[in-house]
């Protein structure tokens, strides 16, 4: 079901999605994005760099936050802005939740836009990856 601009208010929640990232997924992401920094797949290398284990690419979390917003807004919407900050490290084999809500609804130059606060949180409820998105939504 598409999300129409008229049906959205400030405070409307984006249905959360969950991820649980395997080391295999990190290798798939490394291979397809050409990011071969060893902290994302070589446990010994990560431990020697004072990390608790291999960590999830920031850019993969960025991609997931993009997925959260675009899958909610639907194929008729257009993502205009997407920002993320990496505040904390995230590890494999842990339940991670991506969520968000609409923070502003407005019209500009004939376009129907919403701004959303979005974030990813770890299984302890810590928001490791806050961000924001601006989306142009279809109208009825």
């Amino acid at each position: 079901m598409p999300v129409y601009w008229e049906d959205v208010q400030e405070g409307t929640e984006i249905p959360p999605i969950t991820k649980n990232c395997s080391t295999q997924q990190l290798v798939m992401y490394a291979g397809s994005s050409l990011d071969f920094y060893q902290i994302h797949y070589d446990k010994d290398f990560a431990l020697n760099n004072n990390l608790p284990g291999v960590i999830i690419h920031g850019a993969l979390k960025n991609a997931w936050l993009g997925q959260l917003v675009t899958n909610w807004a639907g194929p008729g919407a257009k993502l205009r802005k997407l920002s993320v900050q990496y505040r904390g490290m995230d590890l494999t084999d842990e339940d991670l939740t991506l969520a968000g809500s609409v923070s502003r609804k407005y019209e500009m130059d004939g376009k129907h836009l919403v701004e959303c606060n979005i974030w990813m949180e770890n299984s302890k409820g810590e928001k490791t990856t806050p961000g924001a998105a601006t989306v142009e939504l279809p109208t009825k």
Partner: protein, 151 residues
């Protein structure tokens, strides 16, 4: 706050750009990238579906352009600051035009800003780089401002 780790050479580097580099957008790569993320949105592989929603073909997912790595900037902050550990601080994307398989994307980075902060592990250098992605028509399709932390 000490600014000593920022040399005059670093300060003068604001505004310097990388050599442009061009990449073709390959259909298989767009699909593989979406699979790696675990995003099964048909917009990224089903041309017919994408056309029903006003596109000319299937499109790339929001962070696909990250695969199109810019050439290095003519100045290396690691060398200049003597800090050799790197963290990705985040990204700020802006999107202007859809990107389709078959497009050729030209990528250029520009050193935008820098700062020094006191972190848990000592002084950190925070650099911002804006990367512009443009298509064969010369339109900017997207920009990514990324924050890199050295410590």
């Amino acid at each position: 706050m000490s600014k000593e780790i920022i040399s005059q050479k670093m300060r003068d580097a604001i505004g310097v750009k990388s050599q442009p580099v061009s990449y073709p957008v390959e259909r298989w790569h767009v699909k593989r990238f979406a699979e790696a993320i675990g995003d099964d949105n048909p917009l990224y592989y089903d041309s017919g579906f994408a056309k029903q929603h006003g596109y000319k073909d299937s499109v790339v997912s929001p962070t696909f352009l990250r695969c199109m790595v810019p050439e290095p900037l003519p100045i290396d902050p690691k060398e200049e600051t003597g800090l050799d550990r790197v963290l990705d601080g985040g990204s700020d994307w802006e999107y202007f035009e859809p990107v389709y398989p078959g497009n050729t994307i030209t990528v250029t980075s520009e050193f935008k800003d820098m700062n020094v902060k006191q972190g848990r592990m000592g002084e950190m250098f925070i650099g911002q780089v804006i990367t512009r992605y443009s298509n064969a028509e010369g339109d900017t399709v997207a920009t990514q401002t990324s924050t890199r932390i050295l410590y």
